[in-house]
Each structure stands twice: as structure tokens, then as C-alpha cells.
Assembly symmetry: D3
């Protein structure tokens, strides 16, 4: 870390933004969580529907999928509405595939029974890290959806395995930092999204060199930061869900 | 009104739901208003962009347009995401055309100069009346966007003409009522959306018989209710905007 | 009415254009009507198909729907073909939803049995009022389609309730006029489409201020004109169908 | 020809259906022709627009193109509307490419100047041979559009070269026949569309074996029939256009 | 033939390019053939799938269909990827319909049983005549797919009727030539694709005048060339398949 | 590594499949490479076009982008053609975005000048690792395209920075292995794609737990394997390109 290093937000390299997880944010969804990572705000609605996609029918297991969207003016300048353009862009598809894969790691699909839980992550306001906020908040909404199934006695066993959370890490002005906001994200040399389980495992590691290649030691430093942040994120999720540590 | 008439919500026939208009709801848009008509909640973001559509270029006037969307789980059961289906449905297109026409009545486009203001109305939670809430809230966001243009000295004269608001009225169990919520909306014989200007003019009147035709006298009764509600809605808008009566 | 008021066509304010309804215009459709409101000409083909949309199956009732299209050179300048552009525009979707709703009011869907009648309204030549001509002509085609079902003994009871017709009214140069042609339509302050039943009920009232808001008294004057025109339109429909008055 | 050979319509093998060409069928298009080959009726509207497609700009020549559509109930059973399905099918694209190529042979594009003439061929009623009727009628509409350009003094020289017409021929029950109607078309072993110029040249020959391969001698017999029919079609076109023989 | 006539490639008018048919080119498809007509190279993969399209179900017969594509840089300048543009162009649809029709003539669909064979023809490198190469190579891949069905004892009788091949012929500088390469194709007055059966029948004849109309005698000369070329193509196919003459 | 560990292919854990890079595979593209990683075969065509995307214009720099496609029968069972379905799937978009980002790291875009190089990666045959083969082969095609620009004197300086290659690594039966083929890929616990530069930097690290989370030590072991494989891949690339070590 250069001696004059300073993050645009004034945060320490290992310091997360303020994290909030507001449950029951809307009233129709079986799980509805507004997650904020600082100024990044995502509404995560988990919807339970009977049945599974065609290719899973008759296998006695459930399915979890995610869809991601950005309100047109969630960003500094207005982005075109994907419904108007007639298709979801590559970035959107990539992100929602990531969220879906990540959340499936939190659940034993065999115990879920033939239900599909769709987690819609809609970005109300963007300031970097929308996909990591979506996974972290989406997991809480998913837990609420599973509790709904249990409360309604639609499933008998508990399909929940463990919490999943996600954070971005990067190298900004030669310094590894955690939870990049938009000014950092657009100026970083390297950007990495890490998805973790509460028991310490890695679900996804996606690192990208924006301008310069990164080294194994930078990768290690970033993973250390992610691990530390994960502990905080799991604590936020547990608190929001009223789970004992 | 039958003697045992009762609205599902317990409201009086002429009683609006609780109306709130929260300005500066998100931080990027030039105008950002969360409007609530009871449990119906719509985020109205007004975005200013230089330039006008091709067919208006060189005419020295501005343009105001609207887009409307519903988050997939704004409703009781999850609706498919329009971006995923690859097109906006007929209902969506119809509503956003209505919102655009209505808001253009609030502004002198010639005085706006060559700017386009796009008002995105995204329904966070739906309980009937999303289009009337969108117009009412969108007008407040539009005023904020115009104030932004003035504050930045991008326009010299004030293009704002007068406030525009909207409310639904209908015939529910043979009784004219105002501001129908979802249980009323789905059970009403007739449903009408009225868009009004503060000076007492009508911008749009869209009445639809859902099951039984309606009579001229029912139409009159509904318009009376709308007029009365309009006065309240204009007061809410003025208060939110800090305008003197 | 200003003393020097004159409609571009020389018609009186309450005077309809020449109305013709030609049945059996094409030979394949169960009902096929060419309707002309002056130079506006629409081919209305009603097609009977067994079965109903998925969401109505097993309810023992039928369905009536409409589709609307404009031949590319029905208008002064060639409009793009919607099939080439790859989607129906918002105006098209809005109009065909209106036609469908209006025609459903003419029929008791429960008595129709599990049949779907699709009324295709294709504009051969446009001169204002294509949607009102479509509803008026489409209703005659619909009656022919119902008669076909009865003649073939596919249904036992008569699902027909009453005739439905439609006309446009507007305020042109401060004067309420009926059945606007294109020069009036493009210059009118207010434009309203009214859909009526033979028994005097209103099915749809859609009034739009193009430039200036309209008043309650203007609304009343327009509705009076529409009511008067309705009587003439029903007479045309009855005559075309050979119905006694 | 088998001794008991009989065409479903009772026509002789070399007999065309009744051909009519009605000019000025609609009033907006620069050329508007309703062509009937018996019960096959196609509205051919030729529209003149200044300019040419991007890839022709600056070459000082014009362009002629065609679009083809079938009204949903032009056929025995209702076909889906292509605008609703969101794309033109392969058959439609193939036909409109054929019509465009054929009509371009009638005109010297260099003499046309930088104008585009679009010929819309919309099938009002189908009974076999819609593409050949479209070419034959479209050529008459095209001539009217060229005359419009000359009358308006928008072009100085006459770009018209010679008439183009088209007819279908086929082998039906082992017998070569001309101008197949729907019952023949669906039962024919071989179907061939021939596009000819008045001076005796061939523009397109498209023969398809539906079930059995065809021989060179059958091909020759079909071409003889087409040549003979061409003479009649050119006479119809000349008469409709008031051209001396 | 003018005395100084010379084909760009130096070939004789009746001379085919070098033809190669490489079987088992890829390992997954039931039939996989790389066909080369000189520098035109097309990969033809025949895939066997149980079942038939909906409109054929229960009729106890099979189906053969084709799809055609061009790799973006198969041509001199890069063409847009159709998957990116979101639809197949008219030329592509026209070609794949032609290939499908042609290959169905090689097989008795009734004896095929309820299987669908899809022949994908993907152009690796284009130099004129991609559709004729696709049909010629696709037929060999189709035979391999049928042999697969027989080897796996999925069908009991042999549905194969006879070989089908295709070649282009044209009039280039007033001279009829066979198997046009790109420089000839783009300069030819007339271009014709002929699809033939081994027993001497014609399946498709598609002749197009690019600039000047063609005469009956030119048509005859072209067909003579095609017939002669067909004999060579069938020999290539037989040799590749190890069939005795 | 369990004592009885055996890869399906019999390879050692650190052993790559046979790698071949065939330049000038097709003749039109400025760079054309067929890359094989064992049975995975991808045709990588690099096309040079003048100009850059709109958002880069006037910045004096070039652009490199990639498109990815899979021939329908590249896989065990036929996959639908994306051009037919009308859109590229999420997996395709994700892969082509990855290839483009990776290849841009090989080049100094400022020195490229206002040219766009599009690298089309079309999978002829798939057996796991199509994206890593695409990057490795695409980089060689890219170098050829740059050499073309230099040979034609279209650019003066050399924009090439360093080679980029890619390999997959994974945990298969608890053992880290390199360059997974399809049987391993579909059975692996963890799958990671690594993109490297010749100078030892990391461009992309994308690790995904398919079933079980992975640990930091497994991540390290996989990265070690990737680094070792990278050295071999760079040697293959240098040899193919005739570069001295």
C-alpha cells in the first residue's frame, strides 16, 4: 500500500460499506429483502412456484434460479430498458447465471421437493457491486422462501444447507481493497467477485484484469480480504434472519 | 349505494387511499419520486437527456416520454420478466403511452428546448391503480427534472404549465367509488381512469365496462368522484413540491 | 359553433360519413365484412376455431379476440410492415385490445361453448376512424360467425346479446363533431372513441386531449353526438344483417 | 393426357382462370392494382419514395423492392398473423424476394434515378398462384408508379423496359396444366412458377417436384403452356394500362 | 461460345471443380461429411432424433429437414452472424428449405419410421455454389444416418430410394457453363440450380436471370450441362459411400 | 491423489491433450487457425475491418472483439441453432465476452489504430474446454491479423504485446487435473478457467464449484497446474507462429 493511498470513500482497504438487509420489503413475495451495500440497493424477491423445469421433472428434486435487472435510471446516466430493446444483454445474463449457481449451493435441491424458487434481483440504485449484493441479499430472501414452504407444511425436511454470501475485491492503485464502489470499480486494475459458504468454502472466484495482468500474490491478498469480509457478511445475514451464531 | 354496501378496505366511496410522495428517492435521476397509493408503490424517475427524437429535430422544442414496467413479483403471483420474454406486452405499451401523453400536457414543449425527459415508472408493489399512481408521481418527478434544468441554467424560461394528476374511479357493486384497490378492481363492473389538470380540465378519460355496460349517469357520478379526488391529489403534489396553494 | 365553422368535408357536425357494410366479402371466413366509413375501409374477417386459450380451458365458455393490422400503404405515406419490423407497435396492440373487449360485450361467452372467434380487422384504406369502423364492421362479421355455428348446429343456444357499434367524436375548431376523418383527426383538440350497445349502454369511452384539456361540458356534447350517431350505426348493422327493427 | 382427365375446375389444361386487373383500387398509393386470378385476389400497391437503400447511394440509380403478406384469413383455415409471431416466415421471404427480382427486370434502374419503388402485395383471398398473381398485378402497379414520376416530372426519361408477367404450371394427374388453383396445387406432382418478359425471355423458372421427380419432356411441356399463357397475361396487362398492342 | 471465351478458373465450360466428399469428418453426428466443390467447403452433419414434428405425429412416417448456415468469415468480407442479428435472413431460409425438399426426395419417409433426420449444412469456406454442394454432400451424410438406423436395428426396411445431387449452371459471357465459382457467379447473366435424382429425374430447377432474360435454348443448354455433371456427381457419391455402380 | 486415481483418458493429472494449431485453415480471413485440444476443435478466424465501434470513435485507438458459436452437431446430441432460436444464449454471450477481454490483453489498442479485429470462434467439434481452446487459438489468429496489417503497411508500430493462452483446471475425484475433457468436465467437483500472459500474469480466473465448495488449497493446486500448462501452450503458439523462444 503506497503511503499516500486513499480510497475515494475514505474507507480502509479491508472496510466494507454499510451493509443493511431489510426483510419483508414488499408484501407479495415469499421472501423479500432490500439489500444495501452503501449506495448500491437491490430488491431481492424470492418467489415459490410448484413444479420444476421440464428437464428436471420426475426426478423428485427442486430448482432455484435467479433473474437480474437494473432499473433504467439506477445508474449515473439512463440505460435503455431491456424489455424495450427486446432482449437481456450479455452482462445481465452472465450475472443472473452467477446468482443462480451461487444460491443453489445454499440448498439441498433433493430435499426441496418439486418446487422452483425464483430469486428476482432488481437494482434500484447502483454504485458498484450489484452482483455481490444480489447474492448476499438473495440468500436471505431464499431462506425466507424456504421458511414459507416449511410453515405451510409443503416440505417436511429442511433443504437449507448453509449461508452463501459474496463480495468484490480488487487491486486499486496497487492496493488490494474490498467491496469496491463505482469510482473504485471503474478505476481498478483488477476486479474479482468471490462467493463463499459459511463453512469456509469457495463457490465462485471470478477475477478479471481490467488493464494489467495480476499476480498470484495479488490474488492471494484479494482472497484474504474476501475471506475476512465474508465473516462480516455472514454475521449480517444471521442477524437479519434471527439466527444464533 | 345499497344500504349494506361496504368497500373491501372499509373506505368510504369517495375516500382515497393514503397518498405519499417521497422525493429524491434515488440519487442519480434528476427527478426521483416514490409514490404510494396505499399498497401500490411506484418509483418514478425522470431523466434529462440533451436532444430529441429524430422526427422532432430542428423544431426547437423538447419531448417528454414515459416507460412503464412492473417488477416480476410486484403482484400476487410472479409475472414473467418482459426483458426475458423479449418484448413489452400490449398492456405495458398502452400504459406507457398514456403516461407520456398525460405528462406532456403539464409542460410547454416549445419552452423546454431540445431536451428529452424520460419518466420511468417502475412498479415495486402493485395493488390496483398503478397507472394513475405513475402519472401522479411522475408529474412530481417531472417538475424536479425541470427545476434541475433551470438550476443548471440549461433553459431560461419555465416550461411548466400546471400539475397533472390521475385517479381511477369505478362502479363496484352498483356504487361509484374512487381509487380502486386490487380486490375492487378485479370485481368492478366498470373501471375508469381520469387524468386531470389543476385548472379543472380533462386530459384523458378512459372508461371500460368489464362486464356490464355503464350509463351516462354512472359516467357522471364517476367523473364527479374523480374531480373531487383530483383536488386532494393536487394538494399532495403541491405539498410535496413545496408549492404555495 | 363559430359562425364561419366548416368541416373540411363540408359535413354537418352531427353528420356521419357514408357507411357501408358488405357481407361475404371474402369466401373462406365464417364472417367476412368490408366496412366503409367514407374513405376508411376495413376488412373484418371472423374466424371460428374449436377450443379456447389455455387459461379458459375446462370452464365451458368461449372466447372472442381481435387482431388489427394496417396494410403498409393504407395511409398517405407508406408505413413499415409490422411483420418486417418483427413486432406489432403499441398503437396496434392498443387498438386490437379495444376491439376485442368491445366485441366480447356483444356475446354471452358462456353460451358460446368452447369456441374461439378471432376477428381480424385489416385496414385496406385509412382516412381516420379505423378503430371505430373495425368495431362496427367486426360486430357484423361476428354475428355471421355465430350464425355459422348455429347453422352447423355446433351450438344450441344463441350467444348473441346485442349489437355493438362505435364512432369517434371530437372537438374541432371549438366545435363538437362526429366521425372525424383524417384532416379533422389530425387537427382536433380532443378526440374521443365511444363504444355503445344497442340498448343504450356505454362499453368504452376513451377521450384524449391532443393539445388543450377538455371540459365536462365538451365531454357531454361529444357523448350526445355519439349517442345520436349510434342509432344510425345500429340501423346500418340491422339492415346489413337483415334484422327487423 | 389420360382420356378421363378432368381438372377440378372443369378448365382445359391450357386455360387460365378469369384474370382481372383493377387499377386505382385504393387512393393513396402511386400505383394500386387489385389483381384476380379467379378466386385468388391480391392487392398490389406501388409506393414511390425518394432515396435508395444505403448500399446503392451515390450510384445515380433507383431501386425496386417488394413485400408480400397474406391476410390471416385469406386461406381456408386461419393462419397466424406474421406481425404477431414477430417474424416473416421462410415462405413469405422467399416469395417477396422472387417478386422483387422479377419486377426489377421490367425497369432500367439507371433511368429511374434515386427513387425506391416498393410494391406491397397483400393477399386478400387465396386459391393458389398468389405469387404469380402478385408479379402480374405488381407489374401494372409499377407502371402506374413510373407514370406518376413522369407526370410529376420527377424523372425525365422513361425507365420502363417491358412488361413482366408470371404464371404457374404443373403436372396434375400426369397432365401438364396451367394456372393451378388450390385443389390442383395441393395435388400436383410438380409445380413450376415461370416469370416471363413480353419479348419472350425467361426471368425466373422455379420448378419443384412435390412427390415424384419430373422429366425433361414434362419440363418442356410445362414451359410451352407458360409461354402460351404469357401472351394472354400480357394482353390483359396492356389492356388494363391502355397500351396499344 | 465466343472464340476468346475463357473461364476465370481456366476450366472448360462443362468441367466441374475438384469434388471431394470426406465421410466421418466429425465424430458425434450419425452422418458427417465435409464436401468440397473446389474452394467451397461445407460441413454436412446428419443428426438422427426419435420423433417427428407435431403435424406428422401418429402418421407412422419420418421426416427429413435441413438447416443452413454460413460461418461469418466464410466469405471475402465478414458477414454478420445470424445468431447475433437475431434471425436467419431470407437467403438462408430459402436455401435450407431447398436443401430439405431435395433430400426428402432421396428417401421413402414412410419406411423411415417416426424418426427425424436433421441435416446441418454449415459453410466453412464459400466460393460459389454452397447450396449445390450442401445438397450433394448432405445426401451422403443422410445415407450414413440411415445406415446408422439400420445398424442399430431401429428400422427394419431400407428407406433409401436413390441418390440426389445438385449443381449450378449458368450463362457466363454468353456461354453456358457448369459449377460456377464466385467470380463467375457474380458476373453471370443467368444462374440456375438443378437438383437431380440418379435415375434421371429433376427435383428442382431454379433459374434466375440476374441481368438479362434467358431463352428457351439457353435453358436447354444449361440443363444438358447439369445432366452431364450429375453423372459425375453421382459417381463421386457412390465412390465415397462404397456403392457399386 | 487417491492411489487408484485414473483419468478417463488415461492422462496424467498435469498432462494436456494433444494440442495442434493449424494456420491459414481457410483462405479469406486475415488470420485463420484451427485449434485442437484433443477432440475439441475450434475454427478461429480473425477479420480486420477499418473503423471502431461508435463509443471509441475519434480516440485514435483500435478494438478487438470476439464472437463464439457452436455448430449444432458439435456435441453428443444436437443443440438448437442459435440463429433459428433468434438469440444467442447466456452461455454463448458469457464465453464470447471472456474471449474478447482475454485477447484484448494481448494487444496495445492504442497502437492498433482505428481498426477492429473480430475473432470468430466456431466450434466444429466439442469435447470440453472449448473456451480455453478458443482463446489459445484465437490469439494465434489475432497475431496473423496484426501481421497482415503490418504487411499491408496499414499500421506503423507493432501493437502486439505478448501471447495469451488459456487452459481449464479442475478437481476431479478429489484430484486436481488440467485440461478437462467432456467426461471429466461433467463429473468434476470444481472447474476453473485460467487465462494467462506469457510473462506470467493472470488475466482471468474463473472458478466454479459444480457440487461442492472448494478450498483455498485446492485453488492453489489448480493454479499451479494452470501455470505449468501455460508454459506448454505458449511453446505451441510460438512454434506455430515461427517465433523464437
Amino acid at each position: 500500500m503506497p503511503t499516500d493511498f486513499k480510497r475515494p470513500s475514505g474507507r480502509q482497504p479491508e472496510q466494507l460499506r454499510e451493509i443493511t438487509l431489510t426483510r419483508e420489503y414488499t408484501r407479495h413475495a415469499e421472501g423479500s429483502v432490500l439489500v444495501a451495500f452503501g449506495d448500491t440497493k437491490v430488491l431481492c424477491n424470492a418467489s415459490v412456484e410448484p413444479g420444476v423445469p421440464r428437464w428436471l421433472r420426475g426426478k423428485g428434486q427442486g430448482w432455484i434460479t435467479a433473474e437480474y435487472g437494473m432499473l433504467p435510471r439506477a445508474t449515473h446516466t439512463r440505460g435503455g430498458r431491456e424489455a424495450t430493446r427486446g432482449k437481456q444483454g450479455g452482462r445481465t445474463l452472465e450475472i443472473q447465471r452467477l446468482i443462480g449457481r451461487s444460491l443453489r449451493a445454499a440448498v439441498d435441491l433433493k430435499k426441496l421437493g418439486e418446487f422452483t424458487i425464483t430469486v428476482d434481483c432488481d437494482v434500484i440504485q447502483a454504485d458498484g457491486g450489484t452482483r455481490t449484493a444480489s447474492i448476499t441479499g438473495g440468500c436471505v430472501a431464499l431462506v425466507d422462501a424456504i421458511r414459507y414452504l416449511q410453515r405451510k407444511k409443503l416440505i417436511k425436511t429442511d433443504p437449507f444447507r448453509e449461508l452463501v454470501s459474496s463480495v468484490s475485491v480488487g487491486v486499486f492503485k496497487q492496493t488490494p481493497v474490498v467491496d469496491l464502489d463505482y469510482p473504485e470499480d471503474s478505476g481498478a486494475d483488477t476486479d474479482m467477485n468471490v462467493v463463499m459458504t459459511e463453512s469456509g468454502g469457495l463457490i465462485e472466484v471470478q477475477g478479471t484484469a481490467e488493464a494489467l495482468a495480476f499476480s498470484r500474490s495479488e490474488l492471494d491478498a484479494m482472497l484474504d480480504l474476501a475471506e475476512k469480509a465474508g465473516a462480516e457478511l455472514f454475521a449480517h445475514q444471521r442477524e437479519a434472519l434471527g439466527l444464533r451464531d
